[in-house]
Structure formats: structure tokens, C-alpha cells
Amino acid sequence: MQWNPETIVAVAAYTGAGICMGFGAVGAAIGEGYTAAQANHAVSRNTDLSGDIFKNMLVGQAVAESASIFALVIAILLMFLNFQGAPLIKAAALLGAGLCMGLGALGSGIGSGLPGGQACFGIARQPAVTGRLTTNMLIGSAVCQTPAIFAMVVALLLIFIDFSRLPLQPGWAALIGAGLSTGLAAIGSGYGGGVAAGASCEGVARQPLAVGPLTTTMLVGQAVAQTPAIFGLLVSFILLFRGIPASESLAPAMALLSAGLCTGLGGIGPGIGNGQVAGGAVRWVARNSAIAGDLMRVMLVGQAVSQSTAIYAMVVSLVLIFVV
């Protein structure tokens, strides 16, 4: 049976769209479910405030939905853009785009539901600070979507750049690797950012006066927790834009695919871990805001150490790309 390139490109586009929306729906749904569960819990504790809690739940869920909306945009683009006459290598790019956006939406989807839930619960505890809680929730939830946005940027690049000058072998591996690198690395960073944001909402309800140091600690912690996703983005860009010599053998292709996998998988753990550090620091800034500076310093040291494995993974990836 003979396949012509157009059929394979179409197959890759539809497979990519399916993977993208399938994975992309998982995270946001879990996150929104968590928000709703906490909202129910909160209503049961303080029935008088059910109106406020309900409003806050809806707003939080609408923001948590963003990650899956990004996945939907990419899936629709993959399905309805016209790829006729595209070279065979486009198939790899489209599959990579679907993988990247689908995996990338997982962590951010779950993570951005956490602040929503904590804010609903916080309203039941401290109704007087509802406004501050909602603002804090929106900021935290929006910032922890940054990894999903990185994934969307890489997916859009994979869809719209013309790769016809890239040799098919080992170019296909570079493109799928580029998608996997950002997509996988975004899982950890997205979830980690959510842990920090959730702790911040909890903290605002506990100690409304400390809202300034709480927001600052949360933002710094989230920014550091996003570093693994930035490593993933960096490796993706190197894989996308570095000219690759054609080669008939399998080894260079596996090296490039493996480089993407390595930074991607390696970013998951440090992303989650950094988020937990930031969450712990934020939680204790709320209890003892006088030592916010000390806590921030310890948080940064702890995060730097916990990031070392992500750096090892990136070093191995760079060796795989440039040395081998």
C-alpha cells in the first residue's frame, strides 16, 4: 500500500488535534472540579455567603478554563487549516504541535483550579476580604497559566513555520522533540505555580493585612517555579531553529528526540517541587509576616537546589544536541 505525503500530513494533523484536545481537557476539568468541591465545602460551612462563594467559584473556573481553551484553539487550527501540498516533514511538526499543547495544558489546568478552591474556602472564613481574595486568586491563577502559554507559542510556531528545507531524517525527531520538551516541562511548572497561588489565597484569608508580602512572595515563587518550563522552551527553540544536517542513520534522530524528552520529563519534578517550596514559604509568610524576607531567602535557596536536576537534564539535552 502506498501513502502519499498529503495523506500522512492529514493523518498527523487529525491525530495531533485529538491528542491536543484530549489531554488538554483533562487538567482544566480536574482543576475546575477542585474549585467546585471546595466551593461546596465552603457553602456547607457558611450557608449565608452562598451567593458570594458561588460568584467567586464561577470566576475562578472561568480563568481555570483558559488552558483548555488554548488547547481548543490549537486543535481547531490543526483540523481546519489547509495543509495541502505540504512536505512530509510537516506531519511531524503537526503531531509535535498537538503533543505540545495537549501535555502543556495538563499542569496549568490542574494548578489554576487550586487558588480558586482556596479562595472560595477563604470567603467562608473571612467574608470581609472577599474582594482581595478574588483579586489574589485571579492574579495567581493567571500567572500559573504561563507554562500553558509557552506551550501554545511553540505549537503555533510548529504549525505556521515552513519546514520544507529541513531534511526529513533526522528533522522529524527534532520537531517532535521540540513539542515534547515544552509540553512535558510545562506540566510541572503549571502545577507548581498553582500550589503557590493556592497557598497565597489561603494566606490572605488567614491574615488579610499581609496581602502585600503574600502577593510578592507568591509571584517570585511562581516565577522561579517557571524556570523548568523556560528550560523546556529554550531546548524547543534550539531544536526548531538550529540547522540540522541530513543523515540516513537512526542515531542522530534518536539523539534529538531524546533531547526533547529529557528536558521535558526532567522539568516535571523540579516544577512541582519548586511550587511546593513557594507554597510553604507563602503559607508561613501569612502566619509570621515579620520574617517575610528570611522566608523568601530560604525559599530561593531551596528552589535553586531543587532545580539542580532540571539543570542536569538540560545539560544532557544540550550534549545530545550539540556534541553527539
Binding site: 542513520s249 524528552l261 520529563l265 537546589v305 532540571a310 542536569y312 537534564a313
Partner: protein
């Protein structure tokens, strides 16, 4: 496209290196994060002992890091020796 034995072995070694370092980095990252989170909590409880607590945290993290370093060693061996 003819795939020879030596090429296949090289390809498998490269793929293995990536997977080893990638998966191996997940555990230490999460574990060290938990350590540091607890250290923040402890310093919040007892700010005067911040130096001692930071030292304990760093030693604990260094031990937790060892599996990550094993992964790195195996990945580099797969890349350059095998």
C-alpha cells in the same frame, strides 16, 4: 533506509540517556521541594534557628539529590562510553 546493528545500538543508547535523565530528575525535584517547604515552615515557627534549619535542609537535599546524580552518571555513560 538500511538500519545497521551499530546504528541501532547508538540510537538506543541516546534514547536511553534522555529517558534516564528525564525520568530520574522527577523524583529528586519533588522530594527536595518538600524538604524546602518544610524548612520554610520550621523557620516560620522558629526564626532564631534559621541558620541551623537551612543547614539541615541543604544536607537533606544533598542526600535526596543522589538519585538524580546517579541518573546523570548513567546518562553520561550511555552517551559517551557505550
Amino acid at each position: 533506509m538500511a538500519i545497521e546493528g551499530a546504528d541501532l545500538i547508538k540510537a538506543a543508547a541516546f534514547l536511553g540517556a534522555g529517558i534516564a535523565m528525564g525520568l530520574g530528575a522527577i523524583g529528586p525535584g519533588i522530594g527536595e521541594g518538600m524538604t524546602a517547604a518544610k524548612a520554610c515552615e520550621a523557620i516560620g515557627n522558629n526564626p532564631n534557628e534559621a541558620g541551623l534549619l537551612t543547614r539541615t535542609m541543604l544536607v537533606g537535599q544533598a542526600v535526596a539529590e543522589s538519585t538524580g546524580i546517579y541518573s546523570l552518571v548513567i546518562a553520561l555513560l550511555l552517551l559517551f562510553v557505550v
